[in-house]
Structure formats: C-alpha cells, structure tokens
C-alpha cells in the first residue's frame, strides 16, 4: 500500500505537476509582437517589395530562405556558446564527476543549448525546403550536390544527431557533457557552410550582402530593407519559440525531479510502515 507522501515532498510534486504553462506576460507580449511582425513581413514581401529583374516573383522566397539560415546560424552559435559554458561549469572539481548536474547555471546553459539547437534545426529545415523550391523555379532543379547545398544538409543531419544524443538515457551530467562536446564539434561546419560559395565553385550564388564595414551589397531599394526586416521578424519569432522551448525543458526536468522525490517519499513511507 502506498502511503501519502510527506507534505513538503507532496508540495514539490504538485508544484511540478501544476507547472504546465510556459507562457508569461513577457512571452505573451513577445508573441503578439511576433505575429504582428509576421503580418507586416507578409505585406512587405508579397506586395510592397518589387519583383526581381531576372527572377521575377520567385525572388520573394528570399525573404524566408535567407533569414531562416541566419536565424539557424544564430541558434547553432548559441548552442556552441552554451555548450562551452556547460563544459566549464561541470568540469572535474566544479560539479563532481558523475550523477546529476549540481550546478544550476550548468543546467540552465544545457537547456539553452538544447532549445537553441532545436531552433537551428527547425530553421535549417525551412531553409532547405524554401531553397529547394526556389531552386526549382530559378535553377530548374530541386537539388544539386554543390558545396553549399551539401554542407548545409550535412549541418542539418549533424544537429539532428545532436538532438538524438540529447535524448539518450544517461545521467544528466554525462548527457549534458557529451552533448556539449558534440555541439562544439558540429559548429565547425558553420563557417564551412557560409564560406563554401567563396571557397569552391558552386551552383548556389555568392552572398549578396557583405556585412563587413564598407562591404558591397547587391540588393537594391525595397528588396534590401524587406530582407533586413524579415531577418528581424524571424529573430523575434525564434526568440519567442525559443523561450517556450526552454521552459518546456525546465518543466520536463521538474517533472523528473518530482517523480524522483515521489519515489523517495514512498521509500520513507514503506520504512515507517515497517516493510
């Protein structure tokens, strides 16, 4: 017979069980801003910005395709940064050698790494899909094994592997550390993807915007501003989703902890009952 848990443990379990919402006033406001920004972006991308002289209306795919990969890059860089923090905070002598992660900062960075990688994968998938559609219209093919496309799909598959690794059953510290190592290896591909069009001959065109000071820009007028606006919009949307994902990961941890506390409480009850 399972006895009722002790009050403080029961409260913890209830607390974890009742935390089913990831929203807050800030995220609701952010959500409204994100949705409004997407609406304005649609207006700019579909009606206000002009068709391209060569590509015609298909150029409008650029306003999804390019910001998607920029946001994905941001997600992967954040994953790498957070992973480095995890490794630092859980090194020997800083957080034990095995078991759960004792350091709350390390746990936070681990959640940041996970949420950012999920965003990166999501937006890389969007990049690949929109790029494929755009390629069909402009190049005349959905896919070619050129250096940019190949390294991008490799980036996607690598981070899918990273997310799979995070799901492997293990002690939280071991899981976090091995995921962090993989994130730091995977991020090496990022500059390769970005500079592949400069380093090798590719079907994919070179970068149209040089973001270095005094760099060239090969996009004119409303198209340029629409692209920058779309990037800002995608960033807000990614931030919104990312915060929710972070909180979901936190809730999963709380539920796990509550489950453990419940088991411990059962043990105490059994002992008190003389079993």
């Amino acid at each position: 017979m399972i006895e009722t848990p002790e009050p403080d443990l029961r409260q913890q379990a209830q607390r974890a069980g009742s935390l089913t919402m990831t929203g807050s006033v800030a995220t609701r406001v952010l959500g409204v801003v994100a949705i409004a920004a997407v609406g304005v972006m649609a207006l700019l991308a579909l009606w206000i910005s002009p068709a391209d002289a060569v590509q015609g209306d298909s150029v409008r795919l650029m306003y999804i395709h390019v910001p998607s990969i920029w946001v994905a890059y941001g997600g992967f860089v954040l994953t790498a940064f957070a992973s480095a923090r995890v490794l630092w905070r859980t090194r020997s002598g800083a957080g034990g050698t095995y078991g759960v992660i004792a350091d709350r900062h390390a746990r936070r960075w681990d959640r940041v790494a996970g949420a950012a990688a999920e965003l990166g994968v999501l937006f890389t998938a969007l990049t690949l899909v929109t790029g494929s559609l755009w390629g069909r219209v402009t190049w005349g093919t959905y896919w070619q094994w050129d250096a940019r496309l190949t390294t991008t799909v490799l980036l996607f598959v690598t981070y899918l592997g990273y997310l799979a690794l995070r799901r492997l059953p293990a002690e939280s510290r071991a899981r976090a550390r091995r995921s962090a190592v993989m994130a730091l290896i995977a991020v090496v591909n990022l500059p390769i993807v970005h500079y592949s069009v400069d380093w090798w001959r590719t079907l994919h065109q070179e970068a149209s915007l040089n973001l270095e000071p005094g760099g060239d820009r090969n996009i004119t007028g409303e198209m340029y501003w629409t692209l920058l606006y779309s990037w800002a919009t995608f960033t807000v949307v990614a931030l919104w989703i990312g915060i929710h994902r972070y909180r979901v990961l936190r809730l999963e941890e709380l539920a796990e902890e509550a489950s453990l506390e419940e088991l411990l409480a059962q043990r105490r009850d059994e002992q008190a009952a003389g079993r």
Partner: protein, 187 residues
C-alpha cells in the same frame, strides 16, 4: 534518518520493474539505431557530396583548354548564354556559352529551364565534347558540347524589374566582353 540505499524490488513490483527496464532498453536501442543511421547518412552525404561539390563545373575557357584530357567524359560546363546564338530546332536547343572570351557551341537535347530565356544568363550544362565543325563568335572550332541537363546559375544581384540603373536586357554584363578580341552580334 530514512534508509535511502538501493534495494531489491518487492516481489509484487518485480514484473513492473523488469517491464520498465525492458522499455528503457528498447528505447536505448531505438535511439542508438537512429543515431547510427544518422551517422551513416551523414557520412554517405559527405562522400557523395564531396565527389562533385568542390569543383562543381568547369568554365568554358577551362573546358576548352582541357579538351584532350576530358575526351568523351561527362562534366559540367559553365558560361553565359550568348543571346543572339540561341536557336531551337526539333527539340534541340543550339546556342553558345561564353566565359573569359572563350566560346563553346552547345547542343542541348532536353527542355531548358524557364530562366534560360534571360539574356546572358549563366548556365551549367552536363554533357561531353563531340567532334564537329562549328562556328562561334570567337571563330571556328572542331568540337561542340552535347548536353542533356541544364541548370541556370543566377547571380547574386537583385534589382527591381523596372529599375533605371539596370543595363538594357540584351546587353552583356558590364566588363564581361571588354577583353574579348571579337564582336558579339546583338540580338
């Protein structure tokens, strides 16, 4: 102080614990299998990709220079389409591609992409050299390129369709023909 040391499951719980362990083992097998499949996919993608990726095409001038070496081997050829050279006859599109003032006569046997119609558009063609006397804007040649696959390689420049600063649609891009010792007929 409660005893929290590991214990053996009670007989009544044994099945449940075993079932949970089995579930854990199965989950682990699924995740490891999925991970290995992803790894294999990544390696395969990398191998396939790298085979072609680093030198995706040869420019027209390089293809001419390497003609003996290439023989009848299939490769990708890149150049800008000379607008005045395009003719279509019986499903075969004949045109010239130009790069670094070297011109290659092309016979393309498949349907070209829609953007092929844009003057001076860069294209990448998959095919091989064939012997045959041809005349190009650069002069006579003993070979032409027989192609059955074409992709358009658009540039990284974007401008509104009606923008004033654009060159007239049939003019070559600025500087493209500057060093060429021949004239290219206008469309």
């Amino acid at each position: 102080m409660s005893d929290l040391s590991p214990r053996l499951p009670l007989p009544a719980d044994a099945d449940r614990v075993e079932a949970r362990r089995e579930l854990g083992r199965r989950r682990k097998v699924i995740v490891v299998t999925f991970g290995l499949l992803l790894l294999v996919a990544a390696v395969a993608l990398f191998a396939i990709g790298l085979r072609d990726a680093t030198e995706f095409f040869r420019n027209a001038d390089e293809a001419i220079a390497a003609r003996d070496e290439l023989g009848e081997r299939r490769f990708r050829l890149q150049g800008r389409v000379v607008p005045s050279s395009v003719t279509i006859d019986g499903g075969v599109t004949t045109f010239e591609v130009l790069h670094n003032c070297a011109s290659v006569s092309v016979r393309h046997t498949a349907n070209p992409p829609v953007l092929f119609q844009s003057p001076w558009i860069p294209v990448v063609l998959l095919g091989h050299w064939e012997e045959g006397d041809v005349v190009t804007v650069a002069g006579r040649d003993t070979h032409y390129f027989l192609s059955d696959d074409m992709v358009v390689k658009h540039t990284n420049e974007y401008a509104a369709a009606n923008e004033d600063r654009l060159p007239a649609p049939t003019e070559a891009p600025e500087g493209f023909l500057d060093d060429c010792p021949f004239e290219v007929p206008r469309l």
